[in-house]
Amino acid sequence: MPEGEQSSLLVVDDEPFNHTLIKRLLDAEGYADVSFADNGRQALDMLQESNFDIVLLDIEMPELNGFEVLESIKADLNHRHVPVIMISGVEDTESIAKCIELGAEDYLAKPFNATILRARLGACVEKKRLRDQEKSHLEQIRTEKKKADELLTVILPSSIASELKATGKVQPRGYDKVGMLFCDIVGFTNYCSGRSAEEVVTGLQTLFTKFEEITTKYNMEKIKTIGDEFMASAGLTNPDYEPLLTVVKCGLEMAAAAPEVSADWKVRVGVHAGPLVAGIVGDQKYQFDVWGDTVNVAARMAGAGNPGAVTMTHDSWLEIESECQGKMLGKMEIKGKGEIDVVECTGLQ
């Protein structure tokens, strides 16, 4: 009975006398939320205005008869799932069959019998409850999936995310020329001591949010952050014909932005451009990542530079010098490459 009390019913019948009768029967069964319509047209209007759990529909009505109302309900995508119980004559088997064919859930024969009314409504409420449960379960799955998808595009470059969604995996692939950028905070350890963890995290968050803004502006891809280190690329999933220049410009802007976020923040940036391999690691928790010499060199450059500058190899410098200002930092030992000349860029020309 509590189920019944929660259900809202619409009774469509052209006989006022039947309204009273049905109301009394439904009251006795605990159905409190009952509305009445005198004809088919009114019923269809009421259905547009509010939601009903069950419709009790008389077959024989002037103007719009029960068949026509039933057909309209079943043709309306918003209401076709509302169960309809037809009210019919006892011997009216042909009409009943027709209604079932048109999608009615059940029928009630006149004169009404309380036991049957109770059973029919009860079964209908129960069936609707199960159906709704199934539906909300499906909806839940759908929203969770949507959330996961959204999360995916936050974690992964969007073209990679789409491939992952579509095929369930991402092929690792090699790129000929990608610009890599590493940016780390000078004296982060010092900064941390004497500050609460919360303060540190909030500060980092503000800074990295700013960095993301800048990379997005340059159409670059954020790869990841590792502690106080921020890592991004140019020309990986978004085409870029001068990825080195892009990462240099981006690096300069980041270096300039950091003190604006907080006077304590100073960053140094290392860049490099060249071939690399990109792909996804992990199965449950995806992590997009890049590998190769280009990545290692860029990371080393970041470690070698001065605060507020963008550091790169001399070979890289030759590529962009026409656009930039900079100075030689000297030679540096790089694993697998021996001694290399390193240049720091301090601004654009």
Binding site: T93, I96, I100, E101, A109
Partner: protein, 369 residues
């Protein structure tokens, strides 16, 4: 009765000659994809007439081809209408010359699973043979082409569209022949599979669910002769050990109190002469039954409600005491609500997609592609 037998014998004599050289053609299209709904077994296909897409499509064009009748006004589809699950809505069929057939036109849905064809012909097992009866039969005249076989072939040859369809289906220049026509028509009819009703989709209304309980229950016993999934106890399919063939007397008549049925419609008895076979007919499938009225072998019952009344009474009038009546037709009590529930269930066996599937429709008014 004797005239019926003679018609049947004439046809079978002709067939004997025909099939000695007909069913030896090569296997042109070995892998036919049925795409059957889940759970449905594959129909048995004669080795001499494997299925192919081209044959089915040619068969469809023949099924709706009015020039297969003497006066060019009637096709198979005139009596077997898709919207009525390939029945005609008439009490009994009427041929192209106006002659009345003694029997009601049966549905062709799932005919591929029938081990024996028509209302009661125990020896008629192949669709390739059956269609020669309406085409060439004279007892009664249906399409009226008796003695006009050459005309049929000539008409088809003269039509370039048919000529090329025959070639596509049978792959040689002499493809247009009565034999190949029979094969293509049979292939099309085997394709007429219906299994997408609310019952199949497990989407029964509450009323129909109650009706199903009655139908499959011991009180009414309907399922004994109309078992799921084909709703008939006449059945053959791939993997079935032996063909299930059954004929029953459901107590519709009892002429002169001697158990007899009307002379032109004595059922199995017309073919066996056995007294106990009087009034025994093959159980019709109940799929799409809501659109195939009127009912029974002679169309003598107009509505489903009346069919149920007859079963509830254990037969019709004096037929109730027909000595050959099946023990499963012994009557039962049914409230009017239960009757409506049972009808709601029978109505839920209607497969709307089957009744409107463009692949089975008239190619002249509804060409594919």
């Amino acid at each position: 009765m004797s005239s019926n037998v003679r018609a049947y014998n004439k046809a079978s004599l002709f067939l004997l000659l025909l099939f000695t050289f007909v069913f030896s053609a090569g296997n042109l299209h070995a892998d036919y994809k049925w795409n059957l709904p889940p759970g449905l077994p594959e129909p048995v296909i004669p080795q001499s007439n494997p299925m192919s897409v081209a044959k089915v499509e040619l068969g469809r064009h023949l099924f709706y081809y009015k020039k297969l009748s003497l006066n060019g006004k009637m096709a198979c589809a005139t009596c077997h209408r898709q919207a009525r699950a390939f029945t005609d809505g008439r009490v009994t069929a009427q041929g192209t010359t106006g002659e009345i057939h003694p029997r009601n036109t049966p549905s062709l849905g799932n005919v591929a699973y029938q081990p024996v064809l028509t209302w009661a012909q125990p020896k008629l097992t192949r669709l390739e043979e059956q269609l020669l009866i309406p085409l060439l039969g004279t007892q009664p005249v249906e399409l009226g082409m008796a003695g006009k076989k050459k005309i049929i072939v000539r008409r088809l040859k003269r039509d370039p569209a048919y000529h090329s369809m025959f070639q596509a289906a049978f792959g040689d220049n002499k493809a247009v022949s009565l034999e190949n026509m029979a094969k293509a028509l049979a292939s099309f009819q085997r394709r007429l599979i219906t299994a997408n009703s609310a019952y199949d989709r497990e989407d029964l209304s509450l009323a129909a669910e109650r009706g199903a309980k009655l139908f499959f229950g011991e009180r009414l016993n309907c399922f004994r002769c109309h078992p799921a999934p084909f709703f008939t106890d006449s059945l053959t399919h791939v993997g079935l050990g032996f063909k299930e063939i059954a004929f029953h007397n459901t107590g519709l008549y009892n002429l002169a109190g001697k158990g007899a049925y009307p002379p032109k419609n004595t059922g199995l008895h017309a073919h066996t002469g056995q007294p106990e076979d009087m009034g025994r007919f093959r159980t019709p499938s109940l799929r799409n039954v809501a659109v195939t009225a009127p009912y029974m072998h002679d169309g003598s019952v107009p509505t489903l409600a009346q069919v149920i009344d007859i079963y509830a009474a254990g037969g019709r009038g004096p037929g109730r005491s027909n000595p050959h009546k099946s023990v499963f037709v012994s009557g039962f009590n049914l409230t009017s609500i239960e009757k409506s529930d049972l009808i709601a269930f029978l109505t839920s066996l209607t497969d709307e997609t089957f009744l409107t599937d463009p692949r089975f429709s008239d190619p002249f008014t509804n060409p594919l592609k």
